[in-house]
Amino acid sequence: MTTLTLAVRDSATMTQRSLRHVLRYPVTLVVAVAVPVLLLLLFVGVFSRLKMSLGAHASYIDYVMPGIIVMTAGYGSSVTAQGVNRDSTEGIIGRFRTMAISPTSMLNGYVVSALARTLVSAALVIAAAIGLGFRPTADAGRWLAAAGITVLLVLALTWLAVPFGLAAKTAEGLTGFILIVQLLPFISSAFVPPGQMSGSVRWFAAHEPFTSVIDTLRGLLTGTPSGGAVLTAVIWCAGLALAGYLWARVLVRRDLNR
C-alpha cells in the first residue's frame, strides 16, 4: 500500500474512533442542539418586540437564524477542543505518537468527525427553527452555497480547536478559546445590526470574522444583500483554517509534555 492509501486508512480509523465517542455519549449532540435552540427562543422572545430597523426582514427570527447557525458551529468547536484536550492529557495521543501512523491522520480524524457532528447539529437546529417560524427563501442552489460556507466556517473553527486542545495542559486552559468562540458571535451582526451599535463596538462588530459569515448566510438564506461579505468570509475562514492547521502540525511534532 502507498503512503497515501495508508494515511487515508488511518484517518478513517481515527474518524471512526471520534464518531464512536459521539454515539456513546449522544448527550453531547443533544446539548449541541439544545443550547442554540434555547438561545434562539430567548432572543426571539426578547428582541422581536423591540422596534429595530432590520432591513428587509419581516420577522426577527429570519434575521437572527444565521447568527444561531454560527453559534452552533462555535459551540461544536468548543466540544472538539475539549475532546482533543482530554486525549492529550489522558495520554492516548502519546500512544498514537509512538506508533507508525502519520500525525496528520490523527488530526484529520478530529476534523472530519467534528465536521460531521457539527453539521448534524446545525441541520437539527435549522429544522427546529423552521418549526418555530423561520422562513428561509433560498432555493436549492442557495441552500447548497449556505451549506458550503457553513462547512468552511466549521473547518476553520475546528482547525483552531485542535491546536488549542493540544496546547492546553488542563481543561481549564481552554477557557480562553471557549470564551472567544462562544461569545464573539454576540458582538457581531448576529442579533443586532452593527449600524445600531456605538463607537468602537460598532467598528469591531462590523469587522470581526463572524459578521462576514453571518451576513453571507443571511444573504443566501433570506435574500438580503450581503455586499462583499462572501469574499471576506471565505478569506477569513481559509486563513484561520490554514493558521490552525499549521499550528497543529507543529504541536504534534514537538516534544511531548512541553
Partner: protein
C-alpha cells in the same frame, strides 16, 4: 550479542534543569534491561527519547538498528510503549480499544478479532471486554494498556514503571507476561523504582541517579560489588555464642539476639570453609543464614540515599 537499543552520550535539559547528564546504555536483543532509580532520576525522559516522543539535546540513540532522530518511523514500527499512566481510550470498551490498535497496525479484521480475544483472555479482561474502560479499575486499565501495546506484536517493548500502584495480582500478571515475552524473543526495557522487580526480572540493571548512570551490570554483579555480605549464625544459648565467638574471632556479636555475623561473600565455598573452621563448636549453632545485600543496599552504597521503597518504617524494623 546484537543490540536492540544503544544510547551514547544522551543529554537533556528542561528549562535549565539537567534531566539526563550524558548517559550510555546498551540493551542486548531478547533480554530484559531495567533502569532503576528514584523519582526524578530521568527514567521517563530516557524512555520518551528512546520512543521518539522527546528529542535529546545531544547524544545518539539507536533502537532496532534505526536512529530515533533520522528514522523515527522505522523505530515506531518496531516498538511498543506502555507508560506510567495508562494510555487507553476511556470512552471506548476494552475490546474496541484493542480493535482500534488492530486497525492502526493494519491487521485484517479476522486477525484483529482473533488477537483481541486472545489478549483479553490472557489479561483477565474477557468479562469486561464490552464495558467502557472508564469503568475499569486502575489495575484493569493498566492491563488493557499493555494488551494494546502487544496488539502490534512489537519486538522491543518499553515499560515505564508498569507496576507502580498496581495490586499484587495485577503485578504478578505483569511479571508473568514480561517473562513470557522475553521467552518469545522480545526485548524489554523496564524502568522501576522497585528493587525486587529489577532483581527478579532483569538480565542487566543500570542505576540512574540525577541523570547519570551510577552503576550498571547484572543484579548479581551489583550486589557483589558492595561490601556487607555476611553469614549469620544463630545460637540457642549464650554459652554456644561465647564458644563460637572465641573460636572464630573477628565476628560481630549481637548478645541480645544471640547471633554472630561473620563477614563473607556468602558463596557455598566460603560457607563450607567457615563451618569447617568451627569444627566441634558447630554443634552449638542453631541456625545458619546467608545475608547478601539487596539492590536497596546497592543503591544506598552508591548514592548515600535509600530509594522510595525503603521507607523509614521498614528501616526501623530491620
Amino acid at each position: 550479542m546484537t543490540s536492540a537499543i544503544t544510547a551514547t552520550g544522551l543529554r537533556k535539559s528542561f528549562g535549565g534543569t539537567v534531566v539526563l547528564d550524558g548517559i550510555d546504555l546498551e540493551v542486548g536483543a531478547g533480554t530484559t534491561f531495567s533502569l532503576l532509580g528514584p523519582n526524578g532520576a530521568g527514567k521517563t525522559t530516557t524512555v520518551q527519547i528512546m520512543s521518539t516522543l522527546v528529542h535529546a539535546d545531544s547524544g545518539e540513540v539507536r533502537v532496532a538498528g534505526h536512529d530515533v532522530v533520522r528514522d523515527p518511523a522505522a523505530v515506531r514500527a518496531a516498538i511498543g510503549v506502555t507508560g506510567q499512566f495508562s494510555a487507553v481510550d476511556k470512552l471506548l470498551t476494552g475490546e474496541e480499544n484493542l480493535l482500534l490498535m488492530a486497525d492502526l497496525h493494519h491487521l485484517g479484521r479476522a486477525e484483529g478479532r482473533r488477537r483481541a480475544a486472545a489478549l483479553l483472555g490472557q489479561f483477565d479482561l474477557a468479562d469486561a471486554a464490552k464495558k467502557t474502560a472508564m469503568t475499569y479499575s486502575g489495575g484493569m486499565q493498566r492491563r488493557l494498556d499493555l494488551a494494546m501495546t502487544l496488539m502490534g506484536d512489537p519486538r522491543i517493548i518499553f515499560l515505564d514503571e508498569p507496576t507502580t500502584g498496581l495490586d499484587p495480582r495485577s503485578r504478578r500478571v505483569m511479571w508473568q507476561t514480561i517473562r513470557e515475552l522475553v521467552a518469545g524473543g522480545v526485548t524489554i526495557f523496564l524502568t522501576t523504582q522497585q528493587l525486587d522487580e529489577a532483581d527478579k526480572l532483569a538480565d542487566r540493571v543500570a542505576v540512574l541517579d540525577h541523570g547519570k548512570v551510577v552503576a550498571a551490570g547484572t543484579p548479581e554483579e551489583l550486589k557483589r560489588s558492595i561490601s556487607g555480605a555476611h553469614v549469620r549464625l544463630h545460637f540457642a544459648d549464650a554459652t554456644g555464642l561465647d564458644a563460637t565467638a572465641r573460636a572464630l574471632g573477628g565476628a560481630f556479636r549481637h548478645d541480645g539476639t544471640l547471633t554472630l555475623e561473620v563477614p563473607s561473600d556468602g558463596g557455598a565455598v566460603a560457607v563450607r570453609e567457615l563451618l569447617n573452621r568451627l569444627g566441634d563448636v558447630a554443634a552449638a549453632v542453631d541456625e545458619v543464614s546467608v545475608h547478601t545485600p539487596d539492590l536497596d543496599d546497592v543503591f544506598f552504597a552508591l548514592t548515600g540515599r535509600r530509594t522510595a521503597e525503603a521507607t523509614p518504617e521498614l528501616e526501623n524494623a530491620r
